[in-house]
Each structure stands twice: as structure tokens, then as C-alpha cells.
């Protein structure tokens, strides 16, 4: 286990999560450092996606979801009854497992949220859209027809990069990624991974992944979940070369998973 971080960007202490009577997370204690990529790994159904969704309260739509314990993200507690959920979600962006661009033009996909949130328009808005599409490495592919072409006409990998641009346009402080490459082909995945590495220099990223190699490639820190319990967390390099818990060792060496 690593010691307490000086300034964790995300933290959880004694977090329990229930869906109805089903306990999904069992007293999880977790911290993720600022401006680094932290990966959540573990077998299917271990609760890592559910844990990720606690940080922007995307579990709310599931009926019967209950969370206890303490969570902080970008200096706020998402489960504080007085929280401004819209403001929280502006600070905490999310990339989903399946690319989900809106059924509108590429430009509108990116422009929608900053226009509604910050009242941007005209050249200011256009500049933001351009810089976000560039950050998502999509600009060159769409700059000519982004005002005509529907976001859903792009390929899967392009759609995921569009979703990334759309999220960056809100200027999040923390980015959550829920298996962002699992629906993509290897080449598209590689592009997304490159972007994760790049964005991770300046933004805090928490990524759930099924792919151990991917976790190894993109993350500095790592947390291993099993059956709703956080088994081990630490620096990725160390955890992959010298896991402390035998369960972690078995999972990483592919004995189950």
C-alpha cells in the first residue's frame, strides 16, 4: 500500500455501494494523485466501473443505488446533499465504454456544452471547438466537413475521440474513463491510449480497463478490485513486477480473470 498522498485529486474512505440488497463495493479506501493516470483493474463484476461512477454520480439513474462513506473529487463530495450536481459534472468529465456522440453535427457535438454552460459563441466558440478537436487528434480528419457531417457517421474510434473532444470542451479537472477502448479495434485503441498519456500530463485521469497491458502502458498508479473489495493499490510498475497480495499476483499473471 502507498502512503497518504500529499494532494489526492480523488479519494474514497470506507465507501460501501449497494444496488438494492446487493453490496457492490465493500469499505473501499482509495486515493488517486493529481495530474496522473490511475487505472482500476480486476475481473468482470468486481465493482470497478461502479466505483468509477461514484465520482460523478452516474449511478444515480440505477434505482436502488445507495452509497455510504466519504468521497471527494476535485475538492467536492459528490454525495453532499447540497452539491450542485451540474457543476460537479462540469469538473468531472466522463468517457464511456461505448462511444456515444449525440445525433448532431460534429461541430455541434463539441459546441453544445460550452455554449450552454459558459455562453460562448462566435469565434470564441469556434476556437474552443478547434482546440478540443486538436487535443483529441480528430481535427485533421474532420475539419472540412464538421459542420455538415453527423457525429454518428464517424467510425467507432473517431466517435470515441469526438466524445473526448466534447468532454474536453467543458474543461474538466478530472476525467473518468470507463473501458474507453473495449469497443474499438487495436489501431483506434492505440490512438486513444496515446491521448490518455498526453492528457495525463496535465489532468487527473481515472481509467477502468479490462486490458492489463493497457493498464501497464498508460497508468502510473493502479488499483486491483475483486468482488467489490479493493485488494491492492500502488505504483503500476511495482504492482506488475512485485505484487504484494497473492490474489493480485494470480490475476496479473493470468491465472484467472
Amino acid at each position: 500500500m502507498v502512503g497518504t498522498l500529499v494532494r489526492p485529486a480523488l479519494s474514497a474512505s470506507n465507501v460501501d455501494l449497494f444496488y438494492g440488497n446487493n453490496q457492490v463495493l465493500k469499505s473501499v479506501n482509495f486515493e488517486a494523485p493529481e495530474r496522473e493516470v490511475t487505472a482500476l483493474i480486476g475481473p468482470s463484476g468486481c465493482g470497478k466501473s461502479s466505483f468509477l461512477r461514484c465520482f460523478n454520480r452516474m449511478n444515480d439513474r440505477i434505482s436502488g443505488a445507495r452509497v455510504s462513506g466519504n468521497i471527494t473529487v476535485a475538492g467536492q463530495n459528490p454525495y453532499d446533499p447540497k452539491i450542485d450536481l451540474m457543476a460537479l459534472r462540469r469538473d468531472v468529465g466522463m468517457l464511456f465504454q461505448k462511444p456515444n456522440p449525440f445525433p448532431m453535427t460534429i461541430f455541434e457535438n463539441v459546441a453544445l456544452a460550452p455554449r450552454l454552460h459558459y455562453g460562448l459563441k462566435g469565434s470564441q466558440l469556434e476556437g474552443l471547438v478547434e482546440s478540443c478537436l486538436k487535443k483529441a487528434a480528430l481535427w485533421d480528419e474532420v475539419k472540412d466537413d464538421m459542420r455538415r457531417k453527423n457525429g454518428l457517421e464517424l467510425s467507432g474510434g473517431q466517435q470515441q475521440r469526438l466524445c473526448l473532444a466534447r468532454m474536453l470542451a467543458v474543461q474538466p479537472k478530472v476525467i473518468l474513463m470507463d473501458e474507453p477502448c473495449s469497443a474499438l479495434d487495436p489501431i483506434s485503441s492505440e490512438k486513444i491510449e496515446d491521448l490518455i498519456l498526453e492528457l495525463g500530463q496535465e489532468t487527473t485521469i481515472l481509467i477502468v480497463t479490462h486490458n492489463l497491458q493497457q493498464a501497464h502502458r498508460v497508468s502510473k498508479h493502479c488499483a486491483f478490485f475483486m468482488l467489490g473489495v479493493l485488494i491492492e493499490r500502488g505504483e503500476t510498475e511495482k504492482m506488475f513486477s512485485d505484487p504484494q497480495n497473492p490474489l493480485t499476483a494470480d490475476y496479473i499473471t493470468g491465472r484467472f480473470g
Binding site: 452516474m58 468529465g93 466522463m94 449525440f102 456544452a113 466534447r166
Partner: protein
């Protein structure tokens, strides 16, 4: 397959048997399909054969004459169009918003379940009951009299539950990931619905609205007691008074035409029948065109 104690002949026989029963089933399905298609063709064919000879420009554009034994049915067509237009104005305000509530705000608690069951029941309630309700409330209690407005309200009341259900279905057929994505960007629920979900649901909502209103306008019972005039020879005047006066309309004209057998020549009744059918058909066709145009643009 020796391990299972079956030889090739045995297997072949089983395969033949399965093929035969599969073929037999397709034949049965075909027969059922033919029966239902046959009924429709029979009805439409009869109406066409008997109605077409009555239809000409004069029939569609003139008022009845000589005690309805001659002339046309224009006042009734005009009345049905007026009834349809008002219903299309009033119904969406309640029906579409109600449908949005059902789909996204009601949740799955006990109360919304009860509401949903009530609405489904209302959607299947016989139209004569709406007619009586409209008579009791709009015509008598609200003192609107037998009038176009009372007809609008009654027909809207009848269409609203159907529109609520079709709107709910149209919204639920939009992938929930659109809403999830919008909400995760910090949009409010209404912003997310309005920007990311509703545009994709609009064709379904419009189709449901037009079909519901079209169906309601084709019914005689709800307007019989609230707005009906079974015939009219009036010239076309459209002013504020029109709202408080009863209107002649196709379904009621048809019903009375049958009831008072002998007064109106059979040819004119069949002609009216065909006109009403074409009226509803045109409305449905419009809805189908709207839907298919929009669907061609849709990419999920």
C-alpha cells in the same frame, strides 16, 4: 453418431420429418396472413366499387341539395377538417408533455405505475364514453353547448392518452447513452432531454399524434353529442361564431345516413363512406411520410 446408437437412415428420417413440419408451419402462417389481408381487401374493395361512382368534383365541393337526395358533402368534409385541426392544436400540449413525464420523470414507483395503468385503460376506452363525458362536462357543465369547441375538447381528451403512450415509447426507443452522455457533461436533465434525446424522438411523437387525432376524427360517437350536426347546407363561413356552433362532419353524416335508411340515396352513403376512408388514409399517409423521411436521416 454410432456413439448415440443412431445410424444414418435413422438420422435422415428425423431430418425429413423436421423439414415437413417446418414447411407445414409456413403454410399455416401463409393461410392466416391471407385471411387477414383478404378481409381488408374485401372491405376496401366493396367500398371502392360502390363508392367510386358517387365521387366527382361536385360531390366533394357542393352542399347537399334537395333534402339530401342530391348534391355533395363538402360541409361535412370541411367540418371534419376543422375538428382535426383543433384536435391537433390541443392534444400535443398535454399529450406530449405527459409522455415526456412518463418516460423520464415518473420513474418506476407505485404512483407512476398506477398512472400508467390508468392511461393505458383510457387509451382503450370506447369512444362513446368520451362522447358522454364530453356532453356532461363540456357541453352542459361548462355550457359550451353542442359546438366545435366542445368537439375539439372531447376529441383531444380521447387522443391524449394515446399520444402520451406513443410519446413515451418514442422517447424510450432513443438509446439511453445519449442522455447519459449529455448529463455527464453537466447539462441539466431538461437540457439533456431537449438537446440530445427529443430530436431523435420527434418523428415517433409526430406519427403518434397524427395517428391518434386521425383516428379520433374518424369516430362518430364522441362528436355525436358534443359537436355534431349530421348534415349542413351552409355556405363556408369561418369566423369567431364558428367555434360555438355545431359542425357537420363525415362520420356522423355517415351514421345518420344509415340510420335513416331511404332518405339519403345509397350511392351518396357509399360515396361518403369512401370519402371518410380516404380522409383517414391521407392522414395516415402523411404520418408515414413524416416518419420515413426522418428515419432516413436517423443514424442509430
Amino acid at each position: 453418431m454410432a456413439a448415440l446408437g443412431l445410424d444414418d437412415a435413422n438420422l435422415l428420417e428425423r431430418d425429413l420429418k423436421r423439414q415437413r413440419s417446418s414447411q407445414l408451419f409456413s403454410v399455416r402462417l401463409l393461410i392466416c396472413a391471407l385471411i387477414s389481408i383478404g378481409v381488408v381487401i374485401g372491405i376496401i374493395g366493396t367500398i371502392l366499387v360502390k363508392g367510386v361512382p358517387a365521387i366527382n368534383w361536385e360531390f366533394l365541393s357542393h352542399a347537399p341539395a334537395e333534402g339530401m337526395s342530391a348534391g355533395g358533402i363538402w360541409p361535412m368534409i370541411r367540418g371534419s377538417i376543422l375538428l382535426m385541426a383543433g384536435t391537433l392544436l390541443i392534444t400535443p400540449a398535454v399529450g406530449i408533455l405527459g409522455g415526456i413525464w412518463l418516460a423520464e420523470y415518473a420513474g418506476n414507483g407505485r404512483l407512476p405505475q398506477v398512472v400508467r395503468a390508468c392511461i393505458s385503460t383510457l387509451a382503450a376506452t370506447p369512444s362513446i364514453i368520451y362522447g358522454l363525458f364530453g356532453l356532461a362536462i363540456f357541453v352542459l357543465k361548462w355550457k359550451l353547448g353542442t359546438s366545435l369547441v366542445a368537439g375539439w375538447l372531447t376529441l383531444s381528451l380521447m387522443s391524449i392518452p394515446v399520444v402520451m403512450l406513443t410519446t413515451e415509447r418514442a422517447i424510450r426507443s432513443v438509446p439511453p447513452t445519449f442522455l447519459e452522455g449529455a448529463v455527464s457533461l453537466g447539462l441539466s436533465k431538461w437540457q439533456a432531454l431537449r438537446r440530445a434525446v427529443l430530436p431523435s424522438a420527434v418523428p415517433g411523437i409526430i406519427t403518434g399524434l397524427v395517428l391518434a387525432a386521425g383516428r379520433a376524427v374518424g369516430e362518430a360517437p364522441p362528436i355525436l353529442l358534443t359537436a355534431g350536426l349530421y348534415f349542413s347546407t351552409e355556405k363556408l363561413t369561418l369566423d369567431f361564431d364558428t367555434l360555438s356552433k355545431p359542425v357537420a362532419n363525415l362520420p356522423y353524416h355517415l351514421a345518420e345516413g344509415y340510420r335513416q335508411g331511404g332518405v339519403i340515396p345509397e350511392k351518396i352513403i357509399w360515396g361518403t363512406c369512401l370519402t371518410l376512408m380516404m380522409f383517414v388514409l391521407l392522414i395516415n399517409l402523411g404520418a408515414i411520410i413524416v416518419r420515413s423521411r426522418q428515419r432516413a436521416k436517423q443514424r442509430w
